[in-house]
Amino acid sequence: MKRFLKLVGLVSCVSVSAFATAQEVNVYSARKEALIKPLLDKFSSDTGISVNLVTGKADALITRLKSEGKYSPADILITTDVGRLYRAKEQGLTQAIETDAFKGLIAQNYIDPDSNWVGFTLRARPFMVAPERVDVSQLSRMEDLADEQWRGRICIRSSSNIYNQSMVAAMIAQLGEEKTQAWLNDFVKNFARTPKGGDRDQIKAVVAGQCDIAIANTYYLAGMASDGDDATRETASKVKVVWPNQQDRGAHVNISGAAITKHAPNAAAAQKLVSFMLQEESQEWYAKTNHEYPLRADVEQSEVLTTFGDFKAEDVDLAKVGELNRQAVILMDKAGWK
């Protein structure tokens, strides 16, 4: 028992001293360590605020946040999809961010109406096709993918994947549930194989000839196009990016972003970190390293992304997309999208 008390004493000393320094910020990140740590290190060296990091799946982090309640040490939740930011907000786990510092710099749509989350980067999900086998003039809209001529020719990953869920949710937001369901039912019939693997796998399958059209996020293709491996670069060079819906609602996009937690013990430092992520330098780092589109209009996208061409992005209410995630999964289940 004496030992136990000693232990408790020791642990509390450690925790108390941690509170005393206060110059730290605790991050729960759904972005993988390799894709966020360098930037966080930069933040630490710039500001002297040390960053503690846990990475994991967004939903696990949200559950952890919720179960830890008011004693949670987490200050910031970083996710790769707006759906999860919405979910954290909906569960009352977030607080309003001071947006004055960057309000004019990024489009209003990428900030939560109640300022409970803010976007960092933009990712787009166009078609990637084998140009010699696909007549691009037949393929200008998402809606076209339901056409019978594409039977057995489309590769896409599983419906468990959040990028697909958000894509369908955005469609529901714009076309309504009925039309989306009808589209899904036919779209699924056109799959070349049971959905499996990641976005790069879909692109590779197009090049290997298993299918003719893949749907994937641009930074996967950009990553392949700038890979150290010759064969990977060659694979990437064999597909062509097709931007859908350029004459109407625009191509599907989503954001990565962050929220400050409701009980953040270091809210001020967290606020600094959010602002840091929207600084020109950080946005440039993301653009160059991860090949995601910077949210700030004054920061240039990476060179590889430029080769994919300019596009019109859909102007959908991202909060709504988050809200419709569940509905999207239900429709995908009904359509038999594995």
Binding site: V11, N52, T55, G56, E68, G197, G198
Partner: protein
Amino acid sequence: MKISPWREPWLWAVTVFSLLLAVPVLLIFTSVFIPQKDLWQHLFATVLNDYVYHSLLIAFSVGGLTLLLGTSLAWLVARYEFAGRGTLQWLILLPMAMPAYILAYTYTGMLDVAGPLQTHLRATFNWTYHDYWFPDVRSVGGAILMLSLVLYPYVYMLARTAFSEQSASFYEASRSMGVSGFGYFRKVAFPLARPAILTGTALAMMEAFADYGTVQYFGISTFTTGIFRTWNGLGNAIGAAQLAAVLTSFVLVLLLIEKNSRRRLRYFHQGQKQNSAKRLTLTPGAAVWAVIACLLPVSLGFIIPCAQLLIWAAERAATQIDKSFIDLIWNSFYLAASAALIAVGLALLFAYAKRLRSHWLLNSQVQIASLGYAIPGTVIAIGAMLMLSAADDALNALSESLFDISVGLIFSGTLVALLLAYSVRFLAVALHNVEAGLQRIKPSMDDAARSMGLSSFAVLKTVHIPLLRASVLSALLLVFVDVLKELPATLILRPFNFNTLAVRTFELASEERLQDAAVPAIAIVLVGILPVILLTRALESGQNR
């Protein structure tokens, strides 16, 4: 003199610890009482069929395949003498160090449509994708194969011990009655070893039920992937917990069957060591086939994937190995070692309690506490998180009212959470081994030793410890290897700035950076091989005693 069970220290100790271990699971089960009618209607109409079908298909096929592979290899090694047997008998164990999901990544990398082999075939013969047939790695069949290749050592290990312990007198008696060769295996050796073999098979099947990494990577709808989908996609945590409860009840049935069959174990072991049957020497021709048979599963489950991983790792090692990588190895190692010590300590407590004070309440507590093996790591992690957060809340409220300071998340925010989750998940593995070892020591031996004036401590020291050594060691090492490979719970519960090899591998592989993932994957295998080698040594010296 009969003592009231509530005055029994054994019963109390078991009650406290089994409750600690059972709470995370029970928390999940309480979800069953919150009706989710809409959700179940939806699942029933759409995906539930697939979940049930695929989960059962995978678990039973893996069970059958591991039973076949493990038993025949064990029989070969235990019964026959051939060149290379000494080396092969531990080589066969190596796939145990290979996590199934890493095997899945590796084979996909090699054999997928876009992989080097098929690309090469197409280029050489000027084929297009539709011109030829090639088996699809990412399929239900592929998943069964991947899981079986890394799980057969569980059966092999237990079966080999059982076969080599069988007394020579059985064999001689059988021969005198004209039963030999395969007839002896079928009529005598297999039935005698059956409890051990079924235990191994049940462990393999439970692993297959709880697997998430492989089936998720292959895009197969099973209960575990369904749990994630329901939780993440549909945002329904209660429904996810209910699915987990259904999965657990499948496994409960499996456990009961296994338990039932193992009940007969006590009739078979005679306690005292008898002469094992001498191994038969194979003819040179047959020996070649025996070596091939032993090498095949090791090659598929270990050597080939390791070679591929090494090739990938060689390209990327320079960018991956730095000081933080050493931390990663160290973290993984001491976490697995501590978890193994805790789980085996608990297993010893539970097993001894059952042995010394058998009581229905105590026995069922032990049973419930070992349910965790069947449950996906994610589900246990959430249960553990809920339980420890509540404990933290209470502690903080107390310290705030007494000293006006909060002590922070002492349990849920630290390694305590991980160690609890591992104990819940892997107690069964430790318990199976320790119980099997204890069952080999007949109570009459205790009585004999006591009657010779030895204290119960002396009995433990001179009788039990030497006899239990091999079982305890194999329990320690199995839990060690399992924790080293564990992914979902680690991912959810780890504290700030704490990473393991499994997590690093997963993060890189899920970014589809297989080549980068190869470096930590190799490290997992290397750290995992050491105990496998130690285990074999220990088992051998135990046999030679």
